[in-house]
């Protein structure tokens, strides 16, 4: 109980790991590309949470700076991913990821 009430870095890490897992499950099991992309965002956020938690632990700011870079990266990823999605939707009129099989004839 004592350890439950005293929030340490480990708590944040467990939370991050749980989010990461949720993201992984989403990426691996869902068909809808939009939801897959959102799951990727979940994964990136889990990483960010870890970075910031470690930054807090060591009292430095490198983790936070890295979190900002990761957010930048997420923005780029979302933009390109959604662009691809729209191009794909325009051609095949579907948003299901297992129908992206143009290379697998």
């Amino acid at each position: 109980m004592e350890s439950m009430l005293h929030i340490t870095t480990l708590h944040y890490l467990v939370l991050g790991a749980a989010l990461f897992l949720l993201g992984v499950i989403g990426v691996l099991t869902r068909r809808n590309v939009v939801i897959v992309l959102m799951s990727i965002e979940l994964i990136l956020n889990a990483v960010n949470l870890n970075l910031v938690a470690f930054s807090r632990m060591w009292g430095g700011l490198h983790g936070q700076v890295f979190a900002i870079f990761v957010i930048t990266d997420a923005a780029a990823e979302a933009a390109v991913g959604l662009g691809i999605l729209i191009a794909f939707f325009r051609n095949k009129e579907t948003v299901n990821i297992d129908e992206v099989n143009l290379l697998k004839w």
């Binding site: 989010l19 099991t29 799951s39 965002e41 700011l61 700076v65 390109v80 959604l82």
Partner: protein, 169 residues
């Protein structure tokens, strides 16, 4: 301002985040998923505040909740979701997927239980007052090169997104 009632807020926010995360990957309707994700992101911004990272929290709200998620909602409204909502939601490899995720979870558990004592007992002290200034110093000093690369990445992403999404160029 020191965080108050840390355990209470931590469990509240992490509960919101986990429920939001579960909703993201289980909802049929992508709009509902996106809204659940927004709730998760906002809760996470609050957790950043608890971790003495106000600037990251602000960036999280502006960029993630205000920017990226609006983009998501936009795209969801552009592509017609009626058809995909009536279809099967999970792909054929969901069993291997779940197994792989469980294995990963087991790995995490193992790491956390084994490596519990490598973390210091108490967090090192950290000044919050000039957090933004310090981050700015880091970004424009030590990480200058990475910062420039990131801006280049964004430029590439903009061009890529436009090329992908535009009907006629």
């Amino acid at each position: 301002m020191a965080p108050v009632a840390t355990p209470f807020f931590f469990y509240l926010l992490s509960g919101i985040m986990l429920i939001g995360g579960i909703l993201v990957i289980t909802r049929k309707n992508p709009v509902h998923s996106a809204l659940a994700l927004i709730v998760t992101l906002l809760a996470q911004a609050s957790i950043y505040l608890m971790l003495y990272a106000p600037f990251v929290a602000g960036v999280q709200i502006i960029l993630y909740a205000g920017g990226i998620m609006v983009l998501f909602l936009f795209v969801i409204m552009l592509v017609s979701i009626d058809r995909s909502m009536r279809e099967r939601q999970f792909n054929s490899q969901w069993i291997p997927g779940i197994i792989a995720a469980t294995a990963l979870g087991g790995l995490f558990m193992a790491v956390f239980t084994k490596g519990n004592d490598i973390f210091p007992e108490h967090a090192l002290p950290m000044v919050e007052n000039d957090n933004t200034q310090q981050i700015a110093m880091k970004l424009y000093g030590q990480y200058m090169f990475a910062f420039e690369i990131a801006s280049l990445l964004l430029l590439v992403a903009i061009i890529g997104a436009v090329v992908m999404a535009k009907k006629r160029i």
